[in-house]
Amino acid sequence: MKWLTVLALKLALLMISLGARAELTIEITQGMDNPTAIAVVPFAWQGPGSAPTDIASVIDGDLNRSGQFLPVSRSDMLGLPSVQSEVYYRDWRAIDTEYLVIGRVSVAGQMRIEYELFDVLRQSKVHAGVVTGAVSEARMLAHQVSDAIYEKLTGIRGAFATRLLYVSVTRVPGGNDYFRLTLADSDGARPIVLLESREPVMAPTWSPDGRQIAYVSFESSRPAIYRQDLATGQREQLTNFKGLNSSPSWSPDGNTMAMVLSKDGSPDIYLMNLASKRLTRITHHYAIDTEPAWMPDGKSLLFTSDRGGRPQIYRYNLASGNTERVTFEGTYNARARVAQDGRNVVMVHQQNGSFHIALLDLVSDRLHVLTATELDESPSIAPNGSMVLYATKYAEQGILAAVSVDGGVKFRLPAREGDVREPAWSPYMGR
């Protein structure tokens, strides 16, 4: 009888950890009016047995998600060339294809993907490339091919070979919810649970080299900031002060962590030297000062403060120690994140009672509201500045969604189970 109980418990745990995956799916809700038609022909598999990963379909998904491309359906293809000599441009012109991608995959210890990109109208080869890596990283290799194709055709570096952190929650009404910190590819594939807890997990963020992460966990029944090395799994508790320990944010040089502590009274922004652990307090106000975000040059930080009565974005200059208000439009602007260009700032902006994601251009000083749903929050900008990932509510479920910085492309990434929130888009993972 007892072993039955144990078995039932184990099964329950197994089901929880299966649910823990919170795998994301992709639903494109709005693309560009005239997306470029591109055909990614299934890559020829030159290894034993059948191909372990459908490389072309990963590339299809990436290009489709960008909203700028419309992949040609395989069933419409009149031929399936894998080498240049098999390419007949008229077959592709006949189905209105503008660009064509072909390739070959082989494995000799490592996986090797060779590919070519053709301009169908000009009847010319635009680009040829090779990527190699571990077989287990096949999907990441495919994303690297997508990055190269995207850059050749748009002039903008691709951000498909990147990763996401997010928090997912399984509700337990009347009890403690399950909180999970998950790492996944930029398309939501290959989710890995990094931390599972019955206490809240919040504010995941990346080190500038993409090798470490930091987050807030309540696992000790109080909030504390932790950092974790992704390769070794090694974890370090950075803070455990009385009161708030929140909003960790790495400086662009990786040496300093900005954070919010309320140990001296009200929530203020502090900088921690990660080598010496020495703290420097940079805001001194009785109001709420929170959500620090570094400018890419590391010379100033944006933060949220309600010192003016309502939450607005302010900028603190490290050299002068001066603080200036940045946002003036609307009664609620909070949680800024800055694009790598140092010009576009995304934030949560309240309009007519609803919370949307807005983009502020620091040069023109113009604010553009990017989303139309009601409870949008936690914007995170892609390392190439093209897309903004954020959290919203859809059908009473917390989901991730994305919008292009021009507002033209939108897609949702609902989880199969549970609420998903607080996405953090990684920096480039090396080239």
């Binding site: 509700r171 009404p173 919810d177 809240p200 919040m202 504010a203 309540f218 029944s221 109080r222 909030p223 009161g243 708030l244 929140s246 909003s247 919010v260 309320s262 929530p267 709420i288 929170t290 959500e291 949220t304 309600d306 939450p311 609620y332 909070a334 949680r335 949560v348 919370f355 009601e374 409870l375 929050e377 936690s378 509510k393 009473e396 929130r421 607080e422």
Partner: protein, 172 residues
């Protein structure tokens, strides 16, 4: 006030002992001892009754505190104590005053607004409850404030009927 009945009983015991001594002069020492023992027994019974009465009083204060619940609600984006919260809080303060118990105040918000701002707002709410308790005689070191922001909702849905249940401080 509360010492009077005890003192009264003592006087009764003393009179009884004196009467016993006066009545039988023969074995005075023995009777003195008996009288002292009786007095001591009566005194400890009285002390036990007093302790029981104090425990009963504390129990009734605890019952009163339990009856008003341990959750205090707040208006949107506000950390001001509402009159219903103050009334409930007074019952808890009365119950805490006769003890050295420690409490934990957990601050919560509804889902609107950013998570980090809400964590700060939840702390503000917990601290406004703490400040009221301190102002009414509960020592600061007995109170711990922790904010969960919007991370631990009681009601999962949207809309004011759910939100109003989530904007709260829980006393534990």
């Amino acid at each position: 006030m509360k010492h009077l009945p005890v003192a009264g009983k003592f006087i009764t015991v003393l009179f009884t002992a004196a009467f016993l001594v006066a009545c039988s002069g023969s074995d005075t020492k023995k009777e003195d001892e008996a009288a002292a023992a009786a007095a001591a027994a009566a005194a400890s019974a009285a002390a036990a009754r007093a302790a029981q009465e104090a425990a009963d009083r504390q129990q009734s204060l605890d019952d009163a505190a339990a009856a008003v619940g341990n959750v205090f609600y707040f208006d949107f984006d506000s950390s001001n104590l509402r009159s219903d919260a103050i009334e409930a809080l007074n019952a808890h303060i009365a119950a805490l005053q006769g003890t050295d118990r420690s409490v934990r105040l957990e601050g919560h918000t509804d889902e609107r607004g950013t998570r980090e701002y809400n964590i700060a707002l939840g702390e503000r709410r917990a601290n406004s409850v703490r400040d009221y308790m301190v102002a009414n005689g509960i020592a600061t070191h007995r109170i711990e404030s922790v904010s969960y922001g919007e991370e631990r909702p009681v009601a999962y849905g949207s809309g004011e009927s759910n939100w109003s249940q989530n904007r709260r401080v829980e006393l534990k």
